[in-house]
Symmetry: C2
Subunit: 335 residues, 2 copies
């Protein structure tokens, strides 16, 4: 592309938009389905599919361990994976502010290409809009995704039973703290990197290891606290966490202490919370740990009959405290 900056005319439906799409977007992300550039993509799928959407407004758009492009891919494929689906196709819709640096757009598209490759999906359809200077903050990205659900897989928090175990696939809170550090210019002794990653390898390992996986969720906005609270509410059962079992990097814990955050409420972008039958917890944990990404997986809690709809935690000090769903914007624009 000849221009250094995105112009309003790049969104006008004419020659300029065609050039932006062909010279940059298709050049970076092309594949036989996308290359057709139809109004919609024609794809082959199984009869039962998972379908999801997410818009990404993260600020800043580049941060340690990721960027808005990688996040847009992983956020959406992870929503498919936790439904037990194999992510297959994603859409990509860009809302770009006039004046946005084309070099930044290129960097984001490169990141989307690399993240899509890692996640095993293709961008098969898309849309590009440009708004005038001041009408958006740089770039917002929407991705939607579809994936096929294998026969027999049916996950739902309604399947949760008393005695089930709660597993998390690794260290929590990294993404939120990484983005916040970047935004606020905070420096920690050990810099915190976003955990942005595709979790499908973990979710499929869990499903292969056990037919008693009840449900899975990726703890993004609102963190593990929001996720387990939603599970407890949907199941109308209690969840008891064990603080000692929850993997938190020292640097994240220190940052949270300093900032007054609870690591349980901080966003993750490459983790999954899994509830499975107690009898299958060991094989599920072993299977998850066998994947590179899940090597720090840990059992962090169990489902109890008490306090239905609520989450409590046995603290490291031995007491019990309630874990509430966070109220509002602890960390705005985190994804």
């Amino acid at each position: 592309m000849r221009e250094d900056r995105i112009l309003l005319s790049h969104g006008g439906g004419g020659v300029m938009m065609k050039k932006l799409i062909e010279d940059l977007i298709v050049a970076k992300l092309g594949n036989p389905i996308l290359d057709r550039l139809g109004d919609s993509a024609v794809v082959e799928v199984g009869e039962r599919i998972a379908f999801t959407t997410d818009s990404f407004i993260v600020k800043p758009i580049f941060f340690r361990g990721g960027d808005i492009g990688a996040l847009a891919v992983f956020g959406t494929v992870n929503d498919l994976a936790v439904q037990g689906a194999t992510p297959q196709h994603i859409s990509l819709s860009l809302i770009i502010e006039e004046g946005f640096a084309v070099s930044d757009l290129e960097r984001i598209l490169d990141s989307i290409r690399s993240a899509s490759g890692r996640a095993g999906v293709s961008v098969v359809t898309g849309d590009t809009k440009v708004v005038e200077r001041g009408a958006a903050d740089g770039i917002f990205i929407n991705t939607s995704g579809i994936g096929t659900i294998p026969p027999g897989v049916s996950l739902s928090p309604k399947n949760i039973r008393t005695g089930d175990k709660v597993i998390v696939s690794g260290f929590i809170g990294d993404h939120g703290i990484a983005v916040l550090s970047e935004r606020e210019g905070l420096e920690f002794e050990t810099p915190v990197e976003s955990d942005a990653a595709p979790v499908a390898e973990i979710t499929s390992a869990a499903l292969a290891a056990s037919t008693a996986v009840r449900c899975m969720r990726d703890p993004t906005r609102g963190g593990v606290a929001a996720t387990v609270n939603e599970m407890a509410q949907a199941a109308n059962l209690g969840i008891r966490l064990f603080e000692r079992g929850i993997p938190v990097h020292e640097s994240v814990r220190a940052a949270c202490d300093m900032l007054g955050f609870d690591p349980l409420s901080v966003a993750n972008e490459g983790k999954v919370v899994i509830v499975c039958a107690s009898s299958d917890a060991a094989p599920v944990l072993e299977a998850i740990r066998g994947t590179g990404l899940g090597r720090n997986a840990s059992a962090i809690g169990e489902v109890i009959a008490e306090h239905p709809g609520k989450v409590s935690m046995q603290t490291a000090a031995g007491g019990i405290r309630m874990v509430d769903i966070p109220y509002g914007e602890q960390l705005p624009r985190i994804c």
Copy 2:
């Protein structure tokens, strides 16, 4: 909802977001699939589906004949319909500026509900983000959609042959002029209304009437001019339009004359351009006219061997002029 204005905390992944989603979005748009509020929706589809995405940034968000909500539904279902698919499910992703009036959000959600009903689709999954004041312009909406393609249907501009006829399903340019009038406070003797509408009834009537429908497109940004140019380029054949056959409301023509626009380049949101074999043009036209929405359908051109990749027009005055793809932003933020 108790609040009058959207707050940053409505996007925080916590209690406030849950209330916004449950009290407003699910209350307005609920259905058995959406009500599950999983990370992704599980839907049953055919083996071959169409998949599309569109972000809507139209300004103003309310205009004569429609609003951003109706547009978000019709824009996406129409992209499915022109692929020959039966639209089934859509996703809804909102990016809202802090301070946005909740009453306007309600009005938009009502419009989405009504438009979805009219288009025969359900909102099955969604996402809501809130950005701080000044970081977006009110509200941006992304919808993605999936629809099943019946066996045997395979539409592509590559199927176009010399001699084929080009049909448009009704009056062109209404949407663009309606939005522009609203934005610029222009008053015309006969006010122009957006044509925003779902075209699936028209596309399925055409497909039922003929097995020689080559391809269909909805002429949105860039108008009929961009659409037929894209078709000509993809087919590497010429397209000759006949100005006398092109349905344009007098008020739209007058507005275009005044503003220096070509109605061919102005956006539509409820029209479809169809290319079919010459022998089937009459039954296709009759079938389209039999639908309420397509009663003003007209044959507007034919495919020729000359000027491959280019579009020309026999003017009302009898001359021939080239119809170029518009260059850039004739009308920014039109959809």
